[in-house]
């Protein structure tokens, strides 16, 4: 397959942005449906973080890598892993231990101004408008990791709401010091990556803030698609697009069968804008 240095697909872009923030020697966990997360970890390992350690939450395989993105729970990962752990042992450091993981990367049905996460329901829990899949390890990973990333494959007002309908993963709760006041360890969301930009949280009040916008994205477009007022810094940064070297490494050594491009294309409304910027 030719390695094109042309446009990054949305999934590739998100993997590159996440990988850049990972450091060598860190410990991470990925869930079942985690193609972008696996790609990000393995990309970081190929580039600047060769001793990053990641484990498949359900499957127990560590640092599985063969240049092909497979579902993280699949048995095929065993043959290319460094270790295989059993879940009843792993729960000690997933569900109880404080700060074992440096980071986790989580998706959501909804997130809010303070980076809380909801994958349980839209509307009232007893009679929801939309019943989601549930919490699984999100509560523990948001609550106990040093930091977490929120990765959203869509950015609109149904996903970015003033307050989530159900907190299944604690971000900064009500902002300020409310997270640690509640007895949770230091931590919380560090970055939010979406098809429109990268967002962080203001250090004191913990409200979500624009960090950088992807090429071709305007502040108005982000505001129109966000259900609360984002903090905006004085000078707006542009997201540094994936470099040719990052994309080459991703496509040659991490995702050689093109899973991310196939499964995570840009939303159609965004494609025209992004295809200009990421060459």
């Amino acid at each position: 397959m030719p390695i094109a240095t042309s446009d990054a697909a949305m999934g590739e872009m998100l993997a590159v942005l996440l990988a850049r923030d990972m450091a060598d020697g860190e410990r991470a966990i990925v869930g079942t449906n985690s193609d972008i997360q696996v790609a990000a970890c393995n990309l970081a390992r190929q580039r600047h973080a060769p001793h990053l350690w990641w484990v498949s939450g359900p499957g127990g395989m560590t640092n599985a890598s063969e240049g092909i993105i497979r579902p993280a729970a699949d048995a095929e990962n065993i043959a290319v892993a460094e270790a295989v752990m059993d879940l009843p042992q792993m729960i000690d450091f997933i569900d109880w231990q404080v700060h074992f993981f440096d980071f986790a990367i989580l998706g959501a049905l909804q997130t809010d101004r303070f980076g809380n996460i909801n994958t349980v329901c839209i509307g009232d829990h007893a009679r929801p408008k939309l019943r989601g899949p549930g919490t699984v390890g999100i509560s523990a990973l948001c609550g106990l990791s040093h930091r977490f990333y929120i990765m959203m494959t869509r950015h609109d007002r149904s996903a970015f709401v003033p307050k989530v309908d159900f907190v299944c993963g604690a971000g900064f709760l009500d902002g300020g010091t409310s997270r640690t006041d509640r007895g949770l360890p230091e931590g919380g969301p560090k970055l939010v990556v979406t098809p429109l930009g990268v967002f962080d949280f203001e250090p004191a009040n913990k409200a979500m803030r624009v960090k950088s916008l992807h090429d071709g994205v305007t502040l108005d477009e982000v505001r129109d698609n966000t259900g609360f007022d984002l903090l905006v810094p004085e000078t707006l940064q542009h997201t540094v697009p994936p470099t040719a070297e990052e994309l080459f490494t991703l496509r040659r050594l991490v995702d050689s069968t093109g899973v991310l491009a196939r499964k995570f294309p840009w939303p159609t409304s965004r494609h025209a804008a992004n295809s200009k910027g990421v060459r």
Binding site: T32, N33, S56, P58, G59, G60, M61, A73, D74, A75, I78, V84, D86, L87, P88, I91, I94, D95, W96, V98, V120, C121, H125, A126, R127, P128, K129, L130, R131, G132, P133, G134, T135, V136, G137, I138, S139, A140, C142, G143, L144, F166, V167, C168, G169, A170, L173, R179, R182, G183, L184, P185, K263
Partner: protein, 295 residues
């Protein structure tokens, strides 16, 4: 050599499952869903079950859609890239079933307490809304000054659990070619354990690869052998999940009438699992076993 008597027919194994019981289900999403047992239970017409599924997909969803369930714990029930669990979603949104909202620490702590004959497990209070909507499942624990906030989660001791492994021997040692998730912990916590396997192998084959034995025979009450018994889910190392069938299942689940038609054609009107395999077709099953060649 005398048989342990643990290898039994599907009907014999399911005779212990009665209306109103608490049923644990092992596996993880599309892996190790004990579908032949689920289909057998629907044919048997069991009702009013309380489910405690490990994070799953079609096993809990089908039992809910077929009307076998009044209450389900939900840690995670999802069809991942194929969408939300359709029958679970419809039943919860219409109020047809009650949900005991749980998370990973809740089920882990509850199963551990169950396995250890303790009344409850202790887990960290993670600042979520779970205790608000499931106050019996998450009770504030007494702590000392300086402790982090903790919750008590009651012991989980299912009446019966359904598990799926790849192979077993006559003694009832169950082997897994991939991850075994919460299956052993569920077996330890349960009162009665039924393991579904794709095949029976000689004891010598089990001894050759004893590291694959994840559920030793002491934890197993009954073994049911049914080739492709996890279909349309995956059986690690033997066959992949049937994406086309799972997508068709989701489509058929768009309303109760079309789902009832699916259950009639694929479960109730088939002559057991032999009839189900005929319905799916040898060619499809062969392709799912073909590894890279099957794609």
């Amino acid at each position: 050599m005398t048989s342990s008597g643990k290898i039994v027919s599907l009907d014999a194994a399911l005779s212990v499952v009665q209306n109103g019981m608490t049923l644990g289900i092992g596996g993880w999403i599309f892996h190790g869903q004990p579908m032949a047992l689920v289909r057998g239970l629907i044919r048997k017409g069991v009702r009013d079950l309380t489910l405690v599924p490990a994070p799953g997909s079609i096993a809990p969803d089908m039992l809910i859609g077929a009307g076998c369930v009044t209450t389900t714990a939900c840690v995670f029930i999802s069809f991942e890239h194929l969408g939300l669990a359709p029958n679970f979603r419809r039943a919860v949104q219409s109020g047809a079933i009650k949900v005991l909202e749980m998370d990973g620490p809740g089920i882990a702590g509850g199963l551990r307490a169950g396995a250890c004959d303790l009344p409850y497990g202790l887990i960290p209070d993670l600042g979520t809304d779970l205790p608000r909507v499931n106050p019996e499942g998450y009770r504030r624990a007494r702590t000392q000054d300086g402790d982090r906030p903790l919750l008590e989660v009651p012991a989980i001791k299912p009446d019966v659990v359904f598990l799926h492994g790849q192979q077993a021997d006559q003694e009832g040692n169950v082997q897994y070619f991939g991850a075994s998730y919460f299956d052993l912990l569920m077996a330890q916590a349960a009162k009665h354990v039924i393991c579904l396997v794709d095949r029976i192998v000689p004891s010598s084959a089990v001894r050759q690869s004893a590291r694959l034995t994840k559920i030793p025979s002491a934890f197993v009450n009954a073994v049911v052998v049914s080739p492709f018994g996890a279909h349309p889910g995956a059986s690690s190392g033997l066959y992949e999940q049937d994406e086309a069938h799972l997508a068709a299942y989701v489509a058929a689940s768009r309303d109760q009438a079309t789902f009832d038609a699916y259950i009639a054609s694929h479960v109730r009107d088939t002559a057991g699992e032999d009839g189900y395999q005929d319905r799916i077709g040898a060619r499809t099953l062969a392709q799912l076993s073909g590894g890279e060649a099957g794609r």
